[in-house]
Amino acid sequence: MKQTDARTMSFINLFAVLGALPSLCELSDEAREIIAGKTISLGIEVKGGPAGVLHFQDGKITVSEGCDKCDIKLPFKNPEKFNGMIDGTVTPIPSKGFTKIGFLLGPFIKLTDLLSKYLRPTKEDLENEQFYRTSTLLMFHVITGAVAQIGNEDKVGKASASYIVDGNVRMAITEGGKVLTAAHIAAQNHHLTTVHTDTDTPMSLMEFEGVHNARGLFDGVASSFTLICDGKLRMGGMISQLDNVNRILDRVGLYLA
């Protein structure tokens, strides 16, 4: 089904796209430098949509749900307005933290521009192997983040989540047996939560061997069947979980296209 909805998109934008900022800071020196020495929290509250806070401290970022306590608060009248900010068509006006607006207009914009550079790269950028690697690892975290949002909010995604049994779905990109990055989607009572770290207790697992194979799949130019046959995509455990996560992944492409 091709339809997407603005509300689900706003959850993806907050918790998967902006939610990838912590990973960006782990992967990029440039990102860390932008927020070095900054200690501030930025709240986003979308009427009829998500609410969350980005906490910046010591070159690291964490994301929490809810928007009760924050230094700067950006309210949005509806999901469409918030999605517009992410697309660059809407300029947000803070309802709190005017004195700290410099952070919003300076480091925050620089950081989100850098995020966009990695998530919507030019062909030339991707010719740089290091850039390619960072971009792919970041994309992995956006995608895994989006799975939970779609499974919890999107009508069709919820149908898929309703069949997911409890437990951790481990997803990872490996290289010669070494884990380059990993995340897991914790399923409980058909509610999904993406945790951007590895897990020792997977109920199922999906491992991509190498950034090029992972990116090929993310970009839709590689076939998962070919990769499975070549041993470049390994699956195991409760396959019914993966079946349903894969159906949600199908919709991730629709939302993030």
Partner: protein
């Protein structure tokens, strides 16, 4: 000790296939849907088969507990079935007018299947489950169909779910899903959808994947039957998978009730491709009026094979011997697992058993054990129920248990 198989030729072939066939091997026989975990532990292509074995293209022999996912019930290349098919092939197969052998086959189906007054033939299970639903809708002039969660009734859009690729919400908007064995939930569905439910469709018991198979609770089927009767709803039994492995008269007969429509395929002709929808007399006029046919649906060879297969199954009382063989295997596997301190669950009817090592809920340990069995020549799957065939010998069962034992040792290392 059994040698460890390798699958170089199989892997070479599937890589070649990838160039010209979507997914190399699509569907349930393929490595993705077939859960070949790990990928290099399973053969991909068969060279030949006989009795309870198949040999892959690398020359490895397997004791086959998947039986082509059901069709092999008497043993691959059963001489009686093959001879009947060969005789008919000499006379004609796909012809402008159908052969009278079609009537002979229908007569035999009606005589054999306890709830049947007529038989309509097609090719695959999906053809007849779809026909059953169309018949129910045409007869009742209602839209809604009740399914039991964990079902599999084929691959047509109406059988799939809203989140499957290529499926529109409109394809499944009249589907209602109820938990298996939950008679109260089914009753509530009828109350909430008065005069709207065309059919309840179900397998005779729940043999879904990745979970222990579940037999009907006491009186469950009788309650379902009564709810359908009270509400003018057609009761469809999808016996495509279980048919003739529980009861030669149909799995509804095995569980003590009568379906209005019952679907057969798989074991009906020992691998010759034909399926059948059998039904009660009151639906015969309706099904006669449907626009439903196919290019090869009246081919005579599979009808002749089906006759020979059913006659032989009756002669040898195949459901009884399959259940006995399955029981012997079940006991041996459980005893061996227990010896290794493992908790092997064998669920479902023994002729159609499902395996699960319950020591690891993620199934990863189970997948390792199954892979080690396959590498040594016992073809099990890690996700699906298995099938017993009549050619399986006591020696095969003994060897299977021996290999299972070696596989338990391998995963314990």
């Amino acid at each position: 000790m059994h040698p460890i198989y390798t699958f170089d030729k199989s892997m070479e072939l599937i890589r070649r296939a990838m160039n010209v066939i979507p997914a190399g091997i699509y569907g349930h026989l393929g490595p993705a849907e077939g859960c070949h975990i790990p990928i290099d532990a399973y053969p991909k292509y068969c060279d030949h088969a006989k009795g309870s074995y198949f040999w892959d293209v690398d020359g490895n022999r397997f004791i086959d507990y998947m039986c082509a996912y059901g069709p092999n019930i008497l043993g691959y290349n059963d001489p009686d079935v093959d001879e009947a098919a060969a005789r008919q092939r000499e006379k004609g197969d796909c012809t402008t007018a159908p052969s009278p052998v079609m009537i002979d086959f229908a007569d035999l189906m009606v005589d054999t299947v306890k709830s049947a007054d007529w038989a309509f033939f097609a090719k695959n299970g999906n053809d007849v489950t779809s026909l059953a639903v169309m018949t129910a809708r045409a007869h009742t002039r209602r839209k809604k169909i009740v399914f039991f969660k964990g079902y599999y009734h084929g691959v047509s859009p109406w059988t799939q779910k809203i989140d499957y690729a290529g499926i529109m919400p409109e394809d499944v908007m009249h589907n209602i899903y109820v938990d298996w064995n939950d008679a109260d939930a089914l009753r509530e569905v009828f109350e909430n959808n008065r005069d709207q439910i065309a059919a309840v469709i179900a397998q005779p018991y729940m043999h879904g994947n990745f979970a222990d198979n579940s037999l009907p609770a006491k009186q469950f089927w009788q309650t379902v039957r009564k709810l359908c009767d009270d509400n003018g709803t057609v009761l469809i039994v999808d016996d495509v998978r279980a048919g003739f492995r529980l009861d030669i008269g149909g799995s509804d007969h095995y569980f003590g009730f009568e379906a209005d429509l019952i679907c057969f395929c798989k074991a009906i002709a020992n691998g010759y491709n034909v399926s059948a929808l059998c039904g009660k007399d009151f639906l015969k006029t309706t099904v006669s009026g449907l626009s439903y046919t196919g290019s090869y649906w009246m081919s005579a060879v599979p009808f002749a094979a089906g006759i020979a297969c059913i006659e032989k199954m009756k002669r040898i009382d195949s459901p009884r011997i399959l259940i006995e063989k399955g029981e012997k295997l079940r006991a041996g596997l459980i005893e061996t697992a227990t010896k290794h301190g493992l908790d092997l669950h064998v669920s479902g009817v023994p002729s159609l058993f499902y395996l699960r090592l319950a020591d690891d809920p993620s199934l990863m340990l189970h997948q390792k054990w199954i892979a080690e069995c396959v590498r040594r020549g016992v073809y099990f799957t890690n996700h699906h129920n298995h099938f017993i065939n009549a050619a399986l010998s006591d020696e095969d069962i003994r060897e299977t248990i021996e290999i299972a034992d070696e596989a338990f040792v391998a995963i314990g290392k």
